[in-house]
Symmetry: C2
Subunit: 443 residues, 2 copies
């Protein structure tokens, strides 16, 4: 399936604030148009048609042939872009194929990846005589409702659309599965000198041919500064991983998300962030060895916070990679081992006792157990182990990485290193044994 | 697809040596008939028809309705079993379905799982007017060639079959994909008073309707004591895992296979063996702590050998389970940690130095790295990490479990515990870093 992106308008409301044309405005490190393309690429789309208007040259210079995004981009210029976005969409007719279904979207609309994924999957259920339109029925969640295109619907179908509808129950999200029916309606509307996409969609709606797809997550039509800020918020929230531990959710993300907001605008890569987190852990270990438990504990917590940033940037900038995931999880193990070895050393320097050796060994042995069990479960079942769901009451043990590093932080800050090591050993092995017992039933 | 197993004959050559009828003779813990059923079950077959003759009651009492094997068994009695196995095979016609393809095999033939898997997959390529016959062209590998049914073939087709053929290039392995064509040929042969399966197959062969499937692994028609012993050898060899480390291949298996041969005849389960291996490791750790490095090292090697037996028994007796695999790999990690902690303790008792702590911590940290990297690779790619293939020159490091426990054994036996810990730390981390570098290209 090809995607057609309308990037022809002038963006007059936003133009004074930026030197670039609207589709090239950067949001968290990616231009609006780049983000549209990369979001659709994640949904399996590799063939793009961009309809340009007032900023043709700048857009072509910025995106090129799509090679750097591993997609194909074809440009179509609409010299009459000022008339309305219906004329721009109609331009696609020149190169459309018989019975072609295509995604039609706007360069300046920002959606979460999950919304677009679900929408693209729904394309299969659409016939050639109708179209699919993403619609948000959560009216209290819609950003800038007065400016939005409203929809009056009946069941799964739109009856009519318009900015000034008095009765409506949904809002047009600017995301379509287009068919020949849409292209015909666009021609018809343009012939009647109705130049907006909504005019053509209204024609189809009056014939009961506009099916609605319910959008369940926040999105925004970014056409002024406030909506750009809202788009950043939505994207940052969507960059959180599905499953987070308690410490990560309540503490770490409060720091990591603002850091990600800043760092995503730089060229720093997720693997570089992973390495910086490892260096923080190394510094923590050095502090413990140098009998400086306070900075040691704080640096361990810092490593834990930075450990969240690599993933956030990777999801936000479409930089996720298998190697990144491997590199992150192995470096995390080394970071853990180094910090706990540093704590053991600092304790040992005060008390040269076999008990120190045994407790330290038990703590070291417990560190990789959570990952070992989760990965083995994954390879055996093909399913990701979700602590929040699969751990049952074991979830209360702070034995995942965010919990372990929090205990290390407390041990350092309170200068209770022996206690921290005992607790680490206890909870990690309790979790491992508990999981072994639980999985006996689940596997 | 249903499987039809011929279990009607008397097994006269073997009868005097056993109190049970031939299909119920036990081989490495499973009767011949049980093994046929479980082998086919591993290939996705769940519906069985067993043709009984002289030992109907004993067979029915032994196998029941198949519930204990999680399959369905239907019994068909052939009162004329003494005439020949063609009459037994023909009995299936009574309950066969139109256009049915079925597997036909003999209760007393023993094949490796891989052979049967490949054969069952080949069934899809067979038309209803022909049959598929497993044939071994490796004449020098055929057990008891004089007693075998020979085949003269041309390309992929059999021309004629018989025990006394003077010209032949293959041997009938007793494994068929049967079709209506086979059932018709059986009726025809029986009507002509030709009562052997080979008579019917010869009829089809003369019409070019017997396609041959090349068997590439050893198999045996177990009809005397010597061939039963040969069957044991074949099965034990097939119970080895695909990828073994050098120490495992050259040392451990020399001990584990004979132990498996004995233990498979008992009711011991693979998980129990896993636990015994863990106890041996625990004993090794205790010996190190008690300053008895010689028995400590030997017990570590014993744990390594026993660690091979659980898998061998599981594969041999169709007892593989996800939980067993998880239990084994987690207990192995604990065993490793305990032994190395014991070694660290014994060294520390002599020299209370921070160097002991650091080297021990490095050795402990290295222990789980091989598994962590392999499992993570598996979850990321969906492919099993094969050290022999994916490690390149890193394969030379004895950093997998068999190699690590061998180093521990040497450290104990030679009383060079510090050296063993240094080597362990060095090779495990070298392997981890080496794999991280190699996988940067592969992932």
């Amino acid at each position: 399936m090809r995607a057609v992106i309308l990037a022809a308008g002038a963006g007059s409301r936003i133009r004074p604030h930026f030197k670039e044309p609207k589709p090239l405005i950067k949001l968290l490190g990616l231009s609006l148009l780049e983000r549209s393309i990369l979001t659709l690429r994640e949904c399996g789309i590799s063939d793009f048609v961009i309809i340009t208007g007032c900023a043709e040259k700048e857009i072509m210079a910025s995106l090129g042939d799509g090679g750097k995004y591993k997609v194909d981009i074809t440009y179509l210029h609409n010299p009459e872009w000022e008339k309305g976005n219906g004329v721009s969409a109609a331009a696609f007719k020149k190169i459309s194929r018989p019975q072609e279904k295509f995604i039609l979207t706007m360069a300046d609309h920002v959606y979460s990846l999950e919304t677009v994924k679900a929408f693209v999957q729904a394309a299969a259920g659409i016939g050639h005589e109708e179209i699919l339109l993403a619609a948000d029925k959560r009216l209290d969640r819609v950003w800038d409702l007065p400016e939005a295109t409203k929809i009056q619907s009946e069941g799964q179908r739109a009856l009519r659309l318009g900015k000034a509808l008095s009765e409506y129950d949904a809002v047009d999200c600017g995301l379509f599965i287009g068919t020949e029916a849409l292209l015909q309606a666009l021609s018809e509307a343009v012939n009647r000198q109705r130049y907006n996409l909504t005019d053509a969609v209204n024609l189809l709606a009056s014939q009961g041919r506009v099916k609605l797809f319910p959008v369940e997550a926040d999105w925004v039509d970014a056409d002024d500064l406030a909506s750009l800020r809202q788009a950043e918020k939505i994207l940052l929230k969507a960059a959180l991983p599905d499953k987070d531990g308690l410490i990560s959710r309540t503490i770490n993300r409060k720091f990591s998300l603002p850091a990600t907001k800043v760092l995503s605008k730089t060229a720093i890569t997720p693997n570089q962030v992973t390495f910086i987190s490892f260096l923080a852990a190394l510094a923590a270990a050095a502090c413990f060895i140098l009998q400086q438990p306070l900075p040691g504990g704080l640096l361990a917590q810092l490593a834990s916070i930075i450990d969240g940033i690599d993933g956030e940037i990777a999801r936000l900038k479409f930089l996720k990679s298998s190697y990144g995931s491997l590199f992150d999880s192995i470096l995390d193990r080394y970071a853990d081992f180094l910090i706990v070895t540093g704590m053991a050393w600092s304790w040992f320097a005060k008390i040269e006792s076999p008990a120190v050796l045994l407790i330290s060994a038990a703590a070291l042995a417990g560190l990789p157990m959570s990952m070992l069990l989760k990965e083995k479960y994954h390879t055996l079942t093909g399913k990701v182990y979700l602590p929040g769901q699969d751990d049952g009451f074991l979830e209360l043990l702070p034995a995942n990485r965010d919990g372990r590093l929090f205990i290390i932080m407390l041990g350092g800050v309170l200068n209770w290193i022996p206690a921290a090591l005992v607790v680490l050993a206890a909870i990690t092995h309790l979790q491992a044994v508990g999981r072994l017992i639980r999985l006996r039933k689940l596997l």
